[in-house]
Symmetry: C2
Subunit: 388 residues, 2 copies
């Protein structure tokens, strides 16, 4: 096991009715906040009204900034930073999914920085200070509600890049599985794939002797796999959503990777597909991850065979590790298909003639991943596998 | 799944060499601390010298209070509170196992309270404020290094009682598996049983639909069970200790019980055995837990059968849930025996004539447990099973 430091400081408030406490909870931090949200689905669902009522009752002044898109844009985050600075706002409340939360993290960090917030994403600056923020999560997927991570897309050059700092971990996050009842099937499937991918990035490693993390990853994956078909079938299955929502948070709060080298090559290979083609993040991972697995599994057949056995319950009568490994990848791909996700680039309209440009975007800051260090050339090979 | 709130705010610094940073880490909180430890094993191991050196280099003034015994005593905690108040100390560093850490939590809370610290343990007062504290863990067992819990024994009436508050969660804890190399076999076995018991208290529940917690509990239990024989055999097996140490912390930071009703009847039935007979906490649980399982399993055979299958890999060709449940309990008891632990009260010198008094101590504050609410009479029945 590798040395590590771990602190997941976000307070999770889980279950029915949590949103009614929002005013009271925010009050402990601030009375002048930015209320950040997305395209308006929270207005349709009534959550917007509940939040506004609770904030007003607690006497909290709020400035609204809606309009966060999937694959959140740098331009809106810059606008948020400007508003926050001008109005002396000292707390950000993100109500929405991972895009809204990631955007709010950018604003939180940008508000305490003199330069351009994009500097954090291109590695030009490190987050040294940030406004406190909190979330009400409406889409279980990105895990951003309890992670130190944020990913933004630069509208100008279509680079989609991430950064991380414990300073942008939300102070608290309200997770009410009832919010998931109105999600359309694609968003359910995308979210499920996203959280599974967060675990895959931690699970497939060359680090030896990290069994606790193995078992945590396998357990959370199994809970997702068991409950995913239920929420796909019945949009208002509270019990199944509760498992999925809690699993999605644990998948990305850092715990499941402690003591081992994580990878993240697949995420980085998938990002340009979203930035350039607007493919949903979860769908881009359903396409790229199986292809990545096929490209790299021979470097550590044991961990892929273990995955097949421990997560999918596969067995091989002749105990051939490689055939198990291959079966595990096949079953993963089938599972994504069963959720209605694309698993090939052509299904998502990506052109082979763009592979080179996409691979350059994926590796814009250098080679990516650790399980196998991936150059732009490797990324093209993965895209090719994902296009067969 | 039940509604829940969860925040494990302790920063875990895991791996080799962590202790060398102690001065620098403490410095962020205080320059006038209480350095609390046990019977002197840290002097033999050299850890004491390392800590003193690091504290001195960081310019931190420290007052020593050693002498914490297993099953830590109220009298010493009271002494600690007095010292801290007199010297204006504002931070406590606990270096040792769960007893030292529990004692330091008592002092941290008592220092900010005008009444007697025992009030918190008998339910007369609630912890409203506490000094910050941190730990260097030397015995993986109690999980106190990242839990909000503390258990003390009153020297006068031999009541062993616990209390909890997020305010006494350590700010940070240093976990270096190398510290485990000098533990004698009994302490290794006691610690392993203690952490397994922390998971059992969370695993055996009537709460339905809490699969993520099921899987986390099963996974961490399996990692403990796989690695326990290794550390029993080879005291300096770093890799195996790393799994055990990390598992012990996760077993009791709260995560594994989120969303379900926990029990704690076995812990409370076991406490008087330690307080009156001085039986080590882990050993007392090795005696009581299998007996509790036998006494209650019929109330939810399903969860006990699931335990047998998912944790121990047992199978039953005729798919008889009850026989699986019984086998799972048998295997648990055998496992404790294989570690050299007692599993019967008579092995630990407990007299049947004391059962009534012990059961009254166990239920001094009312009935205990939730899986089955246990009266003093029930506790006697459990002791009888544990004496067969």
């Amino acid at each position: 096991m590798n040395n590590f430091e771990f602190c997941s400081s976000t307070k999770i408030i889980f279950g029915k009715g949590g949103q009614s406490k929002i005013g009271e909870l925010v009050k402990e931090f601030s009375s002048n906040i930015l209320f950040h949200y997305g395209g308006g689905s929270i207005k349709k669902s009534g959550l917007y009204d509940e939040v506004v009522k609770s904030l007003k009752e607690a006497g909290i002044k709020y400035t609204e900034l809606g309009g966060v898109q999937p694959n959140p844009r740098l331009s809106l985050a810059r606008e948020g930073v400007k508003i926050v600075k001008e109005k002396g706002i000292d707390f950000i409340l993100a109500v929405g999914g991972g895009s809204v939360i990631d955007s709010s993290k950018a604003i939180a960090a940008g508000a305490k920085y003199e330069g351009d917030v994009w500097d954090f994403y291109i590695g030009k600056a490190k987050i040294q200070e940030a406004l406190p923020l909190a979330t009400i999560l409406t889409i279980p997927a990105a895990g951003s509600e309890s992670s130190p991570n944020t990913v933004l897309t630069n509208d100008e050059n279509l680079l989609k890049l991430g950064t991380a700092s414990p300073l942008v971990r939300p102070k608290f996050s309200i997770l009410n599985p009832e919010f998931c009842f109105t999600l359309p099937p694609e968003q359910r499937a995308n979210g499920i794939c996203d959280m599974m991918a967060h675990i895959f990035e931690r699970y497939f490693t060359h680090t030896k002797n990290s069994e606790v993390a193995d078992k945590l990853c396998e357990g959370v994956l199994k809970a997702i796999i068991n409950n995913a078909p239920k929420v796909m079938k019945k949009a208002d299955d509270y019990d199944a959503w509760a498992e999925i929502m809690w699993a999605g948070s644990l998948a990305h709060n850092g715990l499941l990777g402690m003591g081992r080298q994580e990878d993240w090559g697949s995420h980085r290979s998938a990002h340009p597909l979203s930035a350039v083609y607007g493919i949903a993040h979860g769908a881009s991972l359903a396409i790229v991850f199986p292809a990545w697995m096929k490209y790299v599994y021979k470097l550590n057949i044991g961990i892929f065979a273990q995955y097949a056995v421990s997560v999918w319950g596969l067995s091989d009568p002749i105990r051939d590790e490689e055939s198990l490994a291959v079966k595990g990848i096949e079953v993963t791909e089938k599972f994504f298909k069963s959720l209605g996700l694309p698993t090939r680039l052509y299904e998502a309209g990506v052109k082979e003639s763009d592979f080179e440009d996409l691979s350059k975007k994926a590796t814009a800051l250098g080679d990516i991943g650790f399980f196998k260090k991936l150059s732009a050339k490797d990324v093209i090979e993965i895209y090719k596998i994902a296009n067969k």
